[in-house]
């Protein structure tokens, strides 16, 4: 490593970046021997989304999240649904000028109760996420990370002080991560453990891709891994794949595959199982794990009907995990 080469320690890739080069994420750049972020305050996407779209079903239901992303990513999923920004350099996207204070101001003006750092991955625009989160916390706006979980322990523990919730992708087993995500599984499991230790409210998402991670054994492995590392109370979302990016040759996930996965997860003991990216009836609703009564009714992204009383089932009093107000 020459004197001006920099080793980035933000994620598991530990990129060694020569002058004029950048990390695997495409946005951390060695500018004359100094590591800089090319996307700080320069989001390429900013939308007002229902929180259910993240998806977060146990976090301020019915609220809106001011959602931002910059170009780049440190994952390279062959099925990426946002590849047109995640697999691009920031020179290739149309970026806005929105410093952290402006993000918080926009969130407030638009009546959003949270800011979601999403679409690509907040890990790669870490400094922007961190500074925005600090201001948002002061203004009473919550911070939500929608992430693949490729962030090292030290930066994650620092960010966790200001992160209120996260939706973490658990995409598949080691082989799936190696071949389809072009990354590793271990950092994701580490993220899950650390986020729980730090008290970030967590929900998990698994995108079921036909022929690649849709077998019964795949789902059973996933569910057992979740139960071992997070217990039965972490909400789990099975999400429908649509042909995209480098997997445009595959077909959309059949509905029965998603429902079969949801039944497997329930049978193995996960308390809150949801099916997303298609109308899924009962699997959109939250049921009390004790008395099986429906405590939150959802229909797409319309305003959910929340029957909880102080976060508890109105029928049997069971506490439902979540951030309810």
């Amino acid at each position: 490593m020459s004197a001006s080469t920099i080793k980035c320690e933000l994620c598991f890739r530990f990129c060694q970046i020569p002058p004029g080069g950048r990390g695997n994420c495409r946005v951390r750049y060695n500018l004359n021997g100094e590591l800089v972020s090319l996307v700080y305050g320069k989001p390429c996407s900013a939308h007002i989304d229902p929180i259910e779209k993240k998806p977060l079903f146990h976090f301020l239901p019915g609220s809106r999240a001011f959602s931002i992303a910059t170009a780049g990513c440190n994952g390279h999923c062959l099925f990426c649904q946002n590849w047109e920004i995640s697999q691009r350099e920031p020179e290739e996207t149309d970026n806005m000028d929105m410093p952290p204070a402006a993000v918080v101001e926009n969130a407030q003006k638009s009546g959003c109760r949270s800011i979601a750092y999403t679409y690509t991955d907040p890990s790669i625009f870490y400094e922007y996420t961190y500074d925005t989160s600090v201001i948002a916390r002061k203004k009473g706006i919550k911070n939500v990370l929608v992430t693949a979980g490729f962030l090292n322990e030290r930066p994650l523990r620092e960010l966790a002080r200001y992160a209120d919730a996260a939706n973490l992708d658990l995409k598949g087993n080691e082989e799936f991560y190696r071949k389809i995500v072009l990354a590793e599984l271990k950092p994701v499991l580490d993220y899950l453990r650390i986020a729980r230790e730090e008290g970030i409210f967590l929900e998990l998402t698994n995108l079921i891709v036909p022929t690649l991670n849709d077998k019964k054994e795949d789902i059973e492995w996933l569910v057992k891994t979740i139960l071992d590392s997070a217990g039965p109370d972490v909400p789990l979302h099975f999400s429908r794949f649509f042909p995209m990016y480098k997997l445009a040759n595959l077909y959309p996930t059949p509905a029965e595959t998603l429902f079969d996965a949801a039944h497997i997860a329930e049978d193995l003991g996960v308390h809150y199982v949801y099916v997303g990216n298609l109308p899924s009836g009962e699997f959109e609703n939250t049921r009390c794990p004790r008395c099986k009564d429906t405590v939150i009714t959802r229909r797409g992204y319309t305003m959910p009907d929340v029957k909880l009383v102080d976060g508890k089932c109105p029928k049997c009093g069971e506490k439902i995990p979540g951030v309810w107000r």
Binding site: Q16, R22, A46, Y126
Partner: protein, 104 residues
């Protein structure tokens, strides 16, 4: 056109069908090729991109993607451009955290 209709009714039908098809096709393509979820905040388009063709996109992505952590090959075409964009304020040069400059 009236003469065409009277003298060549089948040609007239064909031309009419082509015209309708062209209008429908252009409309459908313009809707299809829009970026999803465009929103406007403070009157400014949130995300408008002039996308290159799929082939160009694929080439760019393949050139820029490396598995070993460095990305110098993919950046070869960017030399100088990045700095210009930083100077123009289109990209930031905000100090990043979590790195090591020491020799191993």
């Amino acid at each position: 056109m009236g003469q065409v209709k009277m003298r060549y009714p089948r040609l007239h039908n064909l031309l009419t069908a082509l015209a309708i098809g062209a209008v429908f096709g252009v409309t459908a393509w313009s809707l299809y090729s829009r970026e999803p979820g465009l929103l406007t905040v403070q009157g400014k388009p949130m995300q408008e991109e002039t996308l290159p063709s799929p082939v160009e996109r694929q080439l760019k992505i393949d050139a820029g993607s490396t598995a070993d952590g460095t990305d110098t090959a993919g950046n070869a075409g960017q030399k100088g451009r990045t700095e210009k964009m930083i100077d123009a304020g289109q990209l930031s040069r905000h100090p990043a955290r979590f790195f090591n400059k020491e020799r191993p």
